[in-house]
């Protein structure tokens, strides 16, 4: 991600709309991606992204440069997305910590393993993320898609580094197990 200049942040904190648009242009890609990958539908992702940037606009004058603006943005985006996901899960009467009952399409794995076509790759990513509990999904998104370090993920989610490590490990174990099941059932 391109760095946001300090001067731009200061201008935005004084209510300069052009500076705020500059921040939006630099950061909306990763904010929307994190939110979209966690909530898993574009309508909710748009609503949460709007909410995140409204919140940033209102609070940017309280930003004290103690952490990076990037970490701050990730924190707000991830927390809002998790809250939205939990809200939707509650509305649907699903238990929050339960995994999504997404049908795991073995064909997705087999086709994409051989051929990384864009459409299939996207289906694979969606299927993988959809099969994980929300907390593990957030860690995988921040690590594998956003490339954050363990320390940064811990700061964003307000958890310990060891928790980050174990969530990533469990998520990948699960994905490998599902991949294996998918492949073996396809072979049968």
């Amino acid at each position: 991600m391109k760095q946001i200049p300090k001067e731009t942040i200061l201008r935005a904190s004084r209510g300069d709309m052009e500076a705020f648009k500059e921040i939006y242009d630099i950061s909306s890609g990763f904010v929307y991606t994190v939110v979209y990958r966690i909530v898993r539908n574009s309508e909710d992702a748009q609503e949460v992204t709007q909410d995140v940037f409204m919140s940033i606009y209102q609070k940017i004058n309280t930003f004290r440069f103690k952490s990076s603006l990037k970490t701050w943005l990730y924190r707000i985006a991830t927390n809002r997305a998790i809250n939205m996901y939990r809200k939707r899960a509650k509305e649907k009467g699903r238990k929050v910590t339960f995994e999504d009952n997404i049908k795991y399409d073995s064909d997705v794995f087999n086709k994409t393993a051989v051929n990384f076509e864009r459409e299939h790759a996207e289906k694979l990513v969606k299927a993988m993320l959809g099969s994980l509990p929300c907390e593990q999904r957030a860690c995988i998104v921040l690590k594998d898609i956003e490339g954050l370090r363990y320390q940064e993920i811990a700061e964003v989610l307000g958890i310990k580094i060891n928790t980050v490590r174990s969530r990533l490990k469990r998520a990948r174990e699960k994905l490998l197990a599902l991949k294996e099941t998918g492949e073996s059932s396809h072979e049968m």
Partner: protein
Amino acid sequence: MKCKKIRDIILSDYTDGELSSDRQKLIEDHLKGCPACREFLEELTGGIVTPLRESGHVKPPAEVWNRIERAIGEKEKSGAGETLLDWIKARAELPVLRRKPAFVLATILVAFLLAGGITARYFSERRGVNTYIEEQFDFLDSLANGNGDSYEDNGFSLDYFLL
């Protein structure tokens, strides 16, 4: 190190580049001599990690910025500055409050009780001083008006006392 332990590390720190160079070398030495662990790593990287890493960023539709701009404009037009509720909400999202809300609330409560105790003690002491001064004024007043009866009644004479 056994394969189980090696795979646990492959699933997290090794794949994520979080290992020290010594430990990294330890895993790589094991992988050189262990085809099963090599296959495990390839499966993890090729089937899981790479597709996620290559998925890239998704751009929000242009409509999102338009909505944000509109919402900010409406907020500015309505002249609504930061309300007390906004102020409290903003503070409620401080990291320390998110991580240790019980600790922060307990600290506020203790500070509140301490402040209350000190204030109460201050006023209680002040009330005692005020009462004493009032009594002295009453006494001097009674002397000035020649009503020193109570004094003499106790078997003392003011003249004797002053001498």
